[in-house]
Symmetry: C2
Subunit: 424 residues, 2 copies
């Protein structure tokens, strides 16, 4: 064995690594616009021929240090479905632990694909009812006081399938994978409003993205002065392109689409703009032909991520673990039932339980071979309790299109096979 | 524009993406063992031909959803130096924000490369002074109660260059890049000891890794019953290979090498094993021919990561931002000086300030064009205050080899150019 402090062993330079890379060949990506095609190629990694796993890894030197690491070949977690310019990819919640979502597995919801933006040219313009209309690059915003906070983002359509059509083969990814949790860094919208001199009588502001559909949402001004941020970083690094690079709006606890990505414009005014994204979309139909509009806050919710479908468990200890979150503040309590809701037991919250952030809960459960139904129920600090599906249908109807947070869980058969249990 | 709810637009499947990938060609990787060579190839990504940035990104559809995201082409953060089977790569602290280190940028310190381990075959054996010797796979450990906590890891040699030879061209990566901070998930060593029936009179345990040098460290038993963990996940996903996949020891606050990676053995006994990794290495020479041995705890430390060398700043607000941490608990206070230590101002801690974890501090600073020296000084909850370099040299001598935490910072010249300032 070489001396661990000697640096003169076999050396592999960064240039060697680049020499080792091949350019992605032309693939069957016809039918996509040029940027989409090129970006898709950028997402395709080299798949090298794999060396066999050594019988005894202690008998040979391993791999060298590298500029940027890659996952183990045994880790296959990925978002699904994919390949859609207008679509959604879901985070594989069943493959994850803790509370932070790896940035490259954060769920996606694009309405016109991921735009390719140069941070030196991309600006955020603030105008309307302000004393001093202004534009800022990310570099300009870095002159402001910076804030780092952990918050979840959740698409308001998260859980639609499980609510409307609770099939037994659903997984955590399918029932709740349109939420992810990150440590965000940016600047307070309040400071931007102060810098631009937003007029005190202003009631709403419009946030507009720089993608091909110019997604735009109207937001009440009090949110700007509460906890709204313009962020440029996520989990310690610059935002990923699919999360709004170079900057996005971050409205803690508000439905995902209001957290406008590729943010380019904030307009200050007196009333909502009634964009298509708050009228034709993201307004919730209710029974009786009426609708909920500007239903920004995401209700408290929980999901058991382990054990879950399609696993088959064996007898003995099977720790129940999952995520809970609320758009209104901290999660105060998560209860778990192992008998389809007859009895509830308080789970351990693996703190700190931060406001408007995922918290992981855990409950030790020993399975003895009986058929059982596992459920979880979250309560937030406002006292709001996650409702049953029956209760939600009673209030909202089965046809409602957004904001689904019923209690659900997993049915464990006598042979240990697990299926989704959507009725509560 | 297509209707955002319609999913029938141009679709790119996962198979198309794989078709788009090319296999890494043979490169100049001679001189490396087969596993190292193959792993290095696995680390080389496709570099596709880049499309030009569109003049107006709102005028064309963007990239589609993808299984696993990649960074923007404008983000170039990477570890250095690289390519060493026995060596270190440093985290680019100046490119990061917040507190979480992206897993693929976590610093590396390998003594015999990264072993290639199959999680189905890799086991942790517990033996020695125990009632029931046992072996566990990761799947077995998942039956235990799980714990998720945020902790830093820091190499005990972090800062050696800045201490011994404080040159003006040093960067945050070079002076402090051998520390990173992650959310870890695993099981308490205390629970493993209880399961195996560790004898109450046992005083130490040995932790041995499954790499080619069988790195092994002796750890006092009280740490096992305090906060020691065996972890299999980092930042929500399975450990990265270079961080110990499939499992590692995590000793919060202890010097990095004691957090044994690729953990395969815990032996319980009465006295330290005096391995080469705690005698020839990782014992600190002091003046007078004596030495500090088993100096596990990392002392409180701080580093300003922005502004920093080699940047040149312009007049106006330049927020001072950095990281602080202590191996003995929470950071209680970080002070910043902008006049080379004459006056100190308390910085804002961007909480929560968690025990034995990085916390980010911030201090608003307006630069008016004068030459100034920026310093930071951390105090932890035990009252320990980060010392000056002069004080540290007085106690430890200039030749000491580990545990460097002097106050240092950055000199801002009258033209805004920044260089490292290593004397305090």
């Amino acid at each position: 064995m070489t001396d661990p402090e000697q640096k003169d062993g076999a050396a592999l330079t960064r240039r060697d690594l680049l020499l080792g890379a091949a350019v992605a060949g032309g693939a069957a990506l016809v039918g996509l616009p040029a940027v989409a095609r090129s970006q898709a190629q950028a997402l395709a990694h080299v798949v090298p021929p794999l060396v066999p796993i050594p019988e005894d890894a202690t008998k040979l030197l391993g791999a060298p240090t590298s500029p940027v690491g890659t996952r183990s070949r045994f880790v296959t977690a990925s978002r699904t479905p994919t390949g859609e310019v207008t679509g959604t990819s879901f985070t594989p919640l069943q493959d994850l632990t803790g509370t932070i979502t790896p940035s490259d597995l954060h769920f996606e919801r694009h309405h016109a694909g991921i735009p390719l933006l140069d941070p030196a040219r991309h600006t955020l313009t603030v105008h309307g009812m302000v004393e001093r209309p202004m534009s800022f690059t990310v570099e300009d915003l870095r002159r402001f006081p910076q804030v780092t906070r952990v918050y979840f983002v959740e698409c308001s359509g998260n859980g639609r399938g499980a609510y409307r059509d609770p099939k037994p083969d659903l997984t955590p990814q399918k029932i709740a994978g349109m939420t992810s949790n990150s440590e965000w860094t940016g600047v307070r919208v309040a400071d931007i409003m102060k810098e631009a001199g937003a007029r005190s009588e202003a009631q709403w502001f419009l946030a507009e993205g720089g993608d091909a559909c110019l997604l735009a949402r109207s937001i009440p001004m009090p949110k700007a002065y509460d906890d709204a941020l313009v962020v440029w970083a996520q989990n310690g690094e610059p935002l990923r392109p699919e999360q709004g690079y170079p900057m996005r709006l971050l409205l803690p606890g508000y439905e995902g689409n209001a957290n406008v990505k590729w943010l380019r414009r904030l307009e200050v005014g007196m009333r909502p703009w009634m964009t298509r994204w708050e009228t034709a979309k993201y307004t919730d139909p209710l029974p009786g032909g009426i609708a909920r509009q500007f239903s920004f806050e995401m209700d408290a919710k929980s999901v058991i991520t382990s054990p879950c479908a399609p696993r088959t468990i064996t007898k003995g200890w099977n720790p129940i673990s999952g995520l809970a979150w609320s758009g209104r503040g901290r999660i105060a309590k998560v209860e778990v039932s192992t008998d389809n809701g007859k009895n509830w037991h308080e789970a351990e919250l693996q703190g700190p339980s931060l406001p408007k952030a995922h918290v992981r809960f855990a409950y030790m459960w020993e399975w003895k071979g009986r058929e059982q139904v596992l459920l979880s129920r979250a309560t937030d600090e406002t006292g709001y309790v996650q409702p049953t599906r029956a209760k939600l249908i009673e209030v909202r109807g089965k046809g409602t299109d957004y904001h689904f947070n019923p209690i659900y869980g997993w049915r464990v058969a006598a042979d240990g096979a697990i299926t989704f249990h959507g009725e509560s």
